[in-house]
């Protein structure tokens, strides 16, 4: 009689998930699933609410990346009401969204993922955590805590609330950026940029080189990728641009966000609450078969680094070139998500500096006039965990008539299932497994930062 190994909850991730590994009589992996255990139903909750209130309600979809929902929601309502935000208002939204990327990447890499690399995947589970890192590498840990604080406080000071923000509004932003605040942000961002360059060096020397074997094996699958690029030069974009859907062979199509329904679909399986997006436009259906997946693409850092032609900021571009020389394009190894995350950390710091150095950023014309009306708007930003799509319809009173949301993490639910199955199958043989092996299966999920 076979048995089921349950890993529940999957830990050091940002959501509620469980892994079930089904073993056959001989103790080999028959199947493995990762499923999301929670459903709230925001697509229903926001119906009937005044659309202008929705951007601060949808924040609560995710307390890790509320700025992403906040800005995507505002863009979608702009679209419904046919309003073009003022240039400064739009740039302030981008500034905060990109700053939030900085903090998110520090949180994920150092607080959640680093214990596996600093202490080792087989370290005793009771100390394999950020507290263990504090003991093993106190200077690094103190530095990380300070950097996270610097990033969050920058947002807190200017925008009032870092978690569940309110400061972006339909038509732009609720307040202008004072010059003194701009100077303080520039100073702090410079510190964060130095730290991000140090972080990539640290990871190259202490993580990626040391764990190259694992990188080439653990959770490796072959898929397509989705990200956002600058329409003019194909460079990496986090706040706006065109969506680029790349096949595993590197060929791609670019499309306008408003047309996403022509390119993407969502597949539902009875064993998890998470919907699984797939590339409908490839006309091959949906399959998680490891050898012949159908319709499967990935999102999040590795995807964005793969789909972009270049990065518009110098330090991040240099890091991208080095990455591509080592791993090719598109790179498929799942643990490279961490590497790509640190490249994006550098980009986010550099982009923040660019925005702060833009002359108009302290302009007081932050908000365009808005009239509620019936319409449709699709708001897309790149959230840390993937392309975030908010699609709203409003009625004549300006209330939400219907909404469709594709949340960043969900793009990777199918791929995470494949990586879990790949990792479990290659690591668990003839009934042999231990907590170190099961942790490695979790590491295949953790790389995606769900």
């Amino acid at each position: 009689m076979g048995k089921v190994l349950n890993i529940q909850p999957v830990t050091r991730i940002e959501g509620h998930a469980r892994i079930a590994v089904h073993l056959d009589d001989a103790g080999n992996v028959e199947n493995a699933y990762m499923s999301l255990m929670s459903l709230r139903g925001f697509e229903k909750f926001i119906e009937g609410r005044p659309a202008e209130e929705v951007p601060r309600i949808v924040n609560r979809i995710c307390g890790i990346c509320p700025w992403m929902h906040h800005t995507a929601g505002n863009k979608a309502v702009d679209g419904c009401f046919g309003v073009t935000p003022t240039e400064t208002g739009q740039k302030l939204r981008e500034l905060l969204q990109v700053m939030a990327h900085i903090n998110d990447k520090i949180l994920h890499f150092f607080f959640l993922a680093a214990p596996d690399f600093v202490l080792g995947p087989d370290a005793d589970y009771s100390v394999r955590n950020v507290i263990g890192v504090v003991k093993a590498a106190p200077e690094l840990a103190t530095q990380v805590v300070k950097m996270r604080q610097l990033g969050q406080m920058m947002i807190d000071r200017f925008a009032g609330k870092a978690i569940h923000p309110v400061a972006a509004v339909v038509g732009g932003f609720s307040k202008p950026l004072p010059e003194a605040e701009r100077q303080a942000m520039l100073r702090d961002t410079r510190t964060l940029l130095d730290f991000s360059l140090y972080a990539l060096d640290f990871a190259k020397n202490n993580v990626f080189s040391k764990y190259l074997g694992a990188i080439n094996q653990l959770g490796v699958i072959t898929t397509g990728f989705l990200g956002t690029v600058d329409p003019a030069d194909g460079s990496l974009r986090l706040f706006d641009g065109r969506q680029r859907l790349m096949k595993a062979d590197g060929s791609y199509v670019d499309f306008d966000g408003a047309d996403y329904l022509d390119y993407l679909g969502e597949h539902v399986e009875p064993w998890g609450y998470g919907k699984m997006p797939y590339a409908r436009s490839w006309n091959e259906g949906f399959s998680l078969d490891l050898d012949a997946p159908k319709g499967i693409y990935r999102a999040n850092t590795l995807a964005r680094i793969n789909v972009c032609d270049k990065i518009s900021t110098p330090h991040a571009q240099a890091a991208l070139e080095e990455f591509r020389a080592a791993f090719g394009r598109p790179a498929q190894a799942t643990l490279l998500y961490h590497y790509a995350r640190l490249i994006e950390l550098i980009y986010a710091c550099e982009r923040t500096m660019e925005l702060l150095n833009w002359d108009g950023i302290t302009d007081t014309d932050v908000r365009a006039k808005v009239e509620p009306k019936a319409g449709r708007g699709v708001g897309i930003v790149e959230a840390p965990r993937g392309t975030l799509i908010h699609d709203y319809h409003t009625d004549a009173d300006g209330c939400i008539a219907s909404a469709n949301l594709i949340v960043g993490t969900t793009h990777n639910i199918g791929p995470m299932n494949m990586s879990v199955k790949q990792a479990a199958t290659s690591l668990i043989k003839d009934g042999h497994y231990d907590q170190g092996i099961l942790n490695k299966v979790e590491m295949a999920v953790r790389a995606y930062d769900p």
């Binding site: 830990t11 909750f45 309600i57 995710c62 009032g160 978690i163 679909g265």
Partner: protein, 313 residues
């Protein structure tokens, strides 16, 4: 018990994860906390998957599934003191809107009638079923302490943890958000309710005086008033004040309409009716708690039905 560390378990139920980020965001203070606290079960930070015996248990999120109910029960068994942490745990939170929509409606919208799914499959194996309603934590287990906020500000989190570590009474007040708001209340001649997108509000004057609905005066301060101090009216995310919760004939709309009508030239009934028509927004964070839901004057399902009948009729 000097020298012995306080043992802490945390668990997230149905929530967004923001309360756990708020815990991490004690920043350098978290390093102080770690001197006196051993973090055990804490899914976002540690790999301890069972529930060890603990002195303090922090529960975030509300009860949506059988899994949530089970986890809350395990935490209660193993932790001496349970803190309902964050607005979801205390009042049900935003997804308490499960009160306004049945689980069937929600599932139908998310999976069946959805422009990207185009399927009839609904998750029903390996997942724990949705409960009929979303409920606050204290409807399934006994809770010792409550710390609402969406999320609670670090100031209150640190004070509450310090209180427990030092075994002293907490230094917290029951002030409203207005207590920390820098705006001035003035009597105005404004005669119509404004939507939040109408014009640009004056930064120095109370939102109510200017004709904007603001829930600051009926909301407990667990945030230090960041929204009204940054140009945006309060939407009540930390939940209602004790007065609203305990007095049967007062609630959010009666108090706001009374106060706003005295500050403006807008009739109280007009304000009350407006708030009923937008009840899903005005009661967004606390509709799932019986302390609001059981009030004889709270008729949210009727208000929503009236609006929908109006919209379709």
């Amino acid at each position: 018990m000097s020298g012995e560390k306080i043992r802490l378990n945390t668990e997230w139920l149905c929530d967004c994860g923001g309360c756990h980020v708020a815990l991490v965001d004690l920043h350098e203070k978290i390093l102080n906390v770690l001197d006196s606290v051993t973090i055990q079960h804490c899914p976002v930070l540690t790999d301890i998957k069972d529930y060890p015996e603990a002195d303090i248990g922090i529960l975030t999120g509300s009860i949506r599934t059988e899994h949530d109910r089970h986890a809350a029960g395990e935490m209660r068994k193993k932790c001496k003191t349970i803190i309902a942490f964050g607005t979801c745990a205390v009042y049900g939170g935003l997804h308490g809107a499960g009160l306004a929509h049945s689980r069937e409606e929600i599932v139908d919208r998310v999976y069946r009638h959805n422009p990207t799914t185009r399927t009839d499959t609904v998750p029903d194996s390996e997942v724990t079923e949705l409960a009929k309603l979303v409920t606050p934590v204290d409807e399934v287990i006994d809770v010792d302490l409550y710390l609402p906020g969406c999320p609670p500000h670090a100031h209150f989190i640190f004070e509450s943890l310090a209180t427990l570590i030092e075994q002293r009474a907490p230094r917290v007040t029951q002030d409203t958000v207005c207590a920390r708001c820098n705006r001035q209340m003035v009597k105005s001649e404004v005669n119509a309710i404004k939507k939040s997108l109408d014009g640009v509000p004056d930064d120095n004057i109370c939102f109510l005086s200017q004709g904007y609905i603001c829930l600051g005066s009926v909301t407990l301060d667990r945030c230090l008033a960041p929204c009204p101090n940054h140009g945006v009216a309060c939407t009540g995310c930390a939940g209602p004040t004790m007065q609203i919760l305990t007095e049967p004939n007062r609630d959010i709309r009666t108090e706001v309409s009374d106060r706003m009508s005295r500050l403006t030239a807008i009739d109280g009934e007009t304000i009350k009716t407006h708030m009923e028509r937008t009840a899903k927004t005005q009661y967004a964070y606390a509709m799932a708690t019986k302390m609001i839901g059981n009030k004889p004057t709270f008729l949210i399902k009727k208000w929503i039905a009236d609006v929908e009948a109006g919209a379709h009729g």
